[in-house]
């Protein structure tokens, strides 16, 4: 007899009729009848959770059970195929909650500024010690880590069980396939958060490393943007610099001051002509670059002041900022040249600091922007692009500032 309950049936074994029990031994036949039913029913498959007959066996390697969506084995990381970006923001929530502490990660940093970026540089899960608790997937605020259905992980190579990001990465479509409803529940929020995070990721940081074409494409895009910015930068910069309406930090103020002084020195140093290219658009990157350029110019000026002949700049420059160093070196060189060229120009001594700024007019080259564009296009990464932009702007600014009063 079976009792129906909400989730299925409860099977209760009843003893036979009282009359049947009067004949001894019939109970044995009841027991054999139960077994017979199982035997007779075993020539078909079991139908489901309410079916107590039929073969339950899955002939495993050939026949695979349909795993429930919520089945969890090992955690994986998701990335979005469309943008190529990983969902993980390196928030360390999973690392913190993991009971056996098998999750390790390093956060990605912007190579230009050294500031952390909401993306993960390397992500390691020790599968051999993971206990498949699923806490990491539950706690992740960005739905970046999910539990996989893959369970054939046995290997003779223990090292393989320390899994790195490259192997952990799965496209979202994969997760959508193994757990459609679970993904549908979180999809919208996850994608929204991802869009927000992509905006805060410079360069190709945060892109799944296996998507080589995507990354390459993104690089080209960035380079094109940099080139455009460099081309646009030359005449537009002076306008952009004063256009800054916001409050300036002390460094920025000092930088501006230095820039102006440099310009003045240049003015005094002699008139030079710069091609007058029309300004196009002022990208936010340009603005930032302008600011940076100002800072660097000031740094270079300072160094030049301390060591007018050939002060070794690299030590003074921030160690991690290659670009800054480069800029500083160039500035110093320019200063040197200016000093040599201005031998006969006593004005140079009039300036409060021995300025490197006169360089551009001294060069007198009409193609600072062209040079900048040329150098900006060659290096593969954005760093160089930015550097080129800075240099171009620097030169342009000085040229413009030196030229303007005469022109007007």
């Amino acid at each position: 007899m079976t009792v129906k309950i909400e989730r299925g049936q409860i099977v209760t074994v009843e003893r036979g009729q009282r009359a049947a029990r009067r004949i001894p031994g019939l109970g044995l036949l009841d027991g054999m009848a139960v077994v017979w039913k199982h035997w007779a029913g075993s020539f078909r498959k079991n139908q489901g959770f309410n079916d107590i007959h039929g073969v339950f066996t899955f002939e495993y390697p050939e026949e695979r059970p349909k795993l429930p969506e919520a089945y969890r084995n090992m955690p994986i990381l998701l990335y979005d195929e469309e943008t190529g970006h990983e969902l993980c923001t390196s928030c360390f929530q999973c690392e913190r909650i993991c009971p056996p502490q098998v999750i390790h990660m390093t956060q990605a940093k912007d190579p230009a500024t050294g500031k952390p970026v909401p993306a993960v540089a390397e992500f390691v899960i020790e599968y051999d010690a993971c206990m498949s608790c699923g806490f990491c997937a539950e706690v992740c605020p960005f739905d970046a880590i999910k539990m996989d259905h893959e369970f054939e992980l046995s290997t003779s190579d223990h090292q393989k069980l320390t899994v790195f990001k490259e192997q952990l990465n799965r496209p979202i479509s994969y997760y959508e396939r193994i757990a459609p409803t679970m993904w549908a529940e979180v999809r919208e929020g996850a994608m929204k958060k991802l869009q927000g995070n992509i905006k805060r990721r410079p360069d190709v940081i945060g892109m799944a490393p296996n998507l080589a074409e995507k990354i390459a494409a993104r690089r080209r895009e960035l380079e094109a943007a940099a080139a455009a910015a460099a081309a646009a930068a030359a005449p537009e910069a002076p306008a952009a610099a004063p256009a800054e309406g916001r409050k300036l930090t002390p460094e920025e103020k000092a930088a501006k001051l230095a820039a102006i002084k440099a310009a003045n020195a240049a003015k005094k140093g002699g008139g030079a002509t710069a091609p007058d290219t029309p300004a196009t658009e002022a990208a936010p990157a340009d603005e930032k670059a302008a600011r940076l350029a100002a800072i660097r110019a000031r740094n270079a000026a300072k160094q030049a002041g301390e060591a007018p002949a050939a002060a070794p700049a690299p030590e003074a420059a921030p160690a991690d900022e290659k670009a800054a160093r480069l800029a500083a070196i160039r500035a110093k060189n320019a200063a040197k040249k200016a000093a040599e060229g201005a031998d006969g120009a006593p004005e140079a001594t009039n300036v409060s600091a021995p300025e490197p700024a006169p360089a551009p007019p001294a060069d007198g080259r009409p193609a600072p922007s062209g040079e900048a564009a040329g150098t900006g296009a060659a290096p593969a990464d954005e760093k160089a692009a930015r550097l080129a932009a800075i240099r171009a702007k620097n030169a342009a600014k000085k040229a413009a500032e030196g030229h303007d009063p005469e022109g007007s």
Binding site: P24, V35, H38, N46, E59
Partner: protein, 445 residues
């Protein structure tokens, strides 16, 4: 076989060899054949049992080696052969070595009297049935040797249980066969089968019954009860669940086989399955007509046989195949029931086993012997033996009266004995409980 070899050598080739050479050749051929067949039976039965029990447990069973897993037992055999043979240092080496042989040998000897088909019996002993059961109890000696020689408490326990069980259950087995022997008046297995021609009624009891080879003893009340008792006893003798007490693996590891490994263990295994096969076969022979079945008798009448030397050998082959088919079908059906019982019931306790054998089965078989006596008196005896009132009855009426009377006696005896047994068991349980409580209170005090 003698006939075939004789006709081949002396008639076909005309060599005129003496009878003893032909007898030697035929016996050697038969023995070789049986020694090949027996292990293959065992291999097949292990596969068969595993598949059947798996289905009863909603599984599939071995299905990887060969088609549908048919070569699984061969793979197991290879495994057995390649296992290391370990003899415990404390063991009595010679006895330890001999025990498996002593267990296997009788099972092989038992094949000697097993008729496979019409005219296909290795040795038609006139005491075939006695031989069969006398030989089968020799293996108890082997079990005891194994248990004693192993110097292992589990092995010893298992051996003692095995011997106690075999000795106890041989009595009901033999007593139940006694009833059948009374019906036929013969101990020859071949004649037992021949007495089961007919159609639900043995043509030996009622002449003129059409012979479809279905006059099996199972269709008589005496034979039915005897079969039930015999089958239960066979379960116990073959150490099948629910009587697998000697090798109760959850209690005493593997009983007398505990200290055996490799092929010696394999021999015990072989002996056990061959014994089970033989018990099923002999049950089929005694109660289900052996090779008897529709068509075999008709075919055999036209074949070469001592009674009919001018027959056609084609009918020999046909009758032989059909007879072997019937016998094997019945045997495997019984083995299926053995597996079925194994799937259904848990293991008994030793005292339950003994109680059941001695207090229930033996009285029941004794009553059955009385029934058999009634049957014989009503059907066979006449005025010469002092039975006069059946004199003018037609044979079918005699049969009917005998059937009803023995049925009534057997059913009444069964119910009464079962009730008594159940009451006694309940009482025993109560007494045990009281004793236990007393000892408990005594120790607590």
């Amino acid at each position: 076989m003698y006939d075939i070899v004789n006709s081949l050598i002396n008639v076909a080739f005309g060599w005129g060899w003496p009878g003893w050479v032909i007898a030697l050749i035929s016996h050697l051929a038969v023995t070789t054949l049986l020694f090949v067949i027996a292990p293959f039976q065992m291999l097949f039965l292990t596969y068969y049992e595993r598949r059947a029990i798996a289905r009863m447990q909603d599984r599939i069973g071995p299905n990887r080696v060969g088609p549908a897993g048919l070569f699984q037992p061969i793979a197991d055999g290879v495994k057995m052969f390649t296992k290391e043979d370990i003899v415990p240092t404390a063991a009595d080496k010679w006895v330890h070595f001999l025990a498996p042989c002593v267990v296997v040998a009788p099972t092989m000897l038992m094949f000697a009297v097993l008729p496979w088909g019409p005219g296909m019996v290795p040795a038609d002993l006139n005491v075939g049935l006695l031989f069969f059961f006398a030989i089968s109890s020799i293996s108890a000696v082997g079990l005891m040797m194994a248990g004693l020689a192993s110097s292992n408490k589990f092995a010893l326990l298992g051996a003692m249980r095995a011997v106690a069980q075999m000795v106890s259950y041989e009595i009901p087995a033999v007593l139940s066969l006694l009833a059948v022997v009374m019906l036929t008046g013969t101990l020859s297995v071949v004649q037992l089968i021949e007495a089961q021609a007919g159609l639900f009624i043995s043509s030996a009891d009622v002449p003129g019954i059409p012979d479809l080879g279905l006059g099996w003893f199972i269709f008589t009340p005496v034979g039915f009860l005897a079969f039930i008792v015999f089958f239960i006893a066979a379960l116990a003798e073959g150490e099948r669940t629910p009587f697998d007490i000697p090798e109760a693996d959850s209690e005493i590891v593997a009983g007398y086989m505990t200290e055996y490994s490799g092929m010696k263990f394999g021999l015990f295994y072989l002996a056990q399955y061959v014994l089970n096969f033989l018990l099923c076969a002999i049950a089929a022979v005694i109660f289900f007509g052996g090779w008897q079945g529709p068509g075999v008798g008709w075919l055999y009448d036209r074949a070469i046989s001592p009674a009919n030397p001018d027959g056609n050998w084609v009918f020999n082959v046909l009758a032989g195949f059909l007879g072997v088919f019937y016998l094997l079908a019945k045997t495997y059906a019984f083995f299926f029931v053995m597996v079925w019982v194994r799937g259904a019931f848990p293991r008994l306790r030793v005292d339950q086993l003994m109680d059941f054998g001695w207090k229930f089965l033996i009285p029941l078989t004794l009553v059955n012997i009385v029934s058999a006596a009634i049957w014989v008196a009503l059907l066979r005896w006449g005025p010469e033996q002092g039975i006069t009132f059946t004199q003018n009855w037609a044979p079918i009426l005699r049969w009917g009266v005998a059937f009803v009377v023995t049925l009534a006696v057997n059913v009444a005896a069964y119910i009464a004995l079962a009730r008594i047994f159940a009451a006694a068991q309940a009482e025993q349980g109560r007494i045990d409980l009281d004793e236990y409580r007393d000892t408990l209170t005594a120790t607590l005090r």
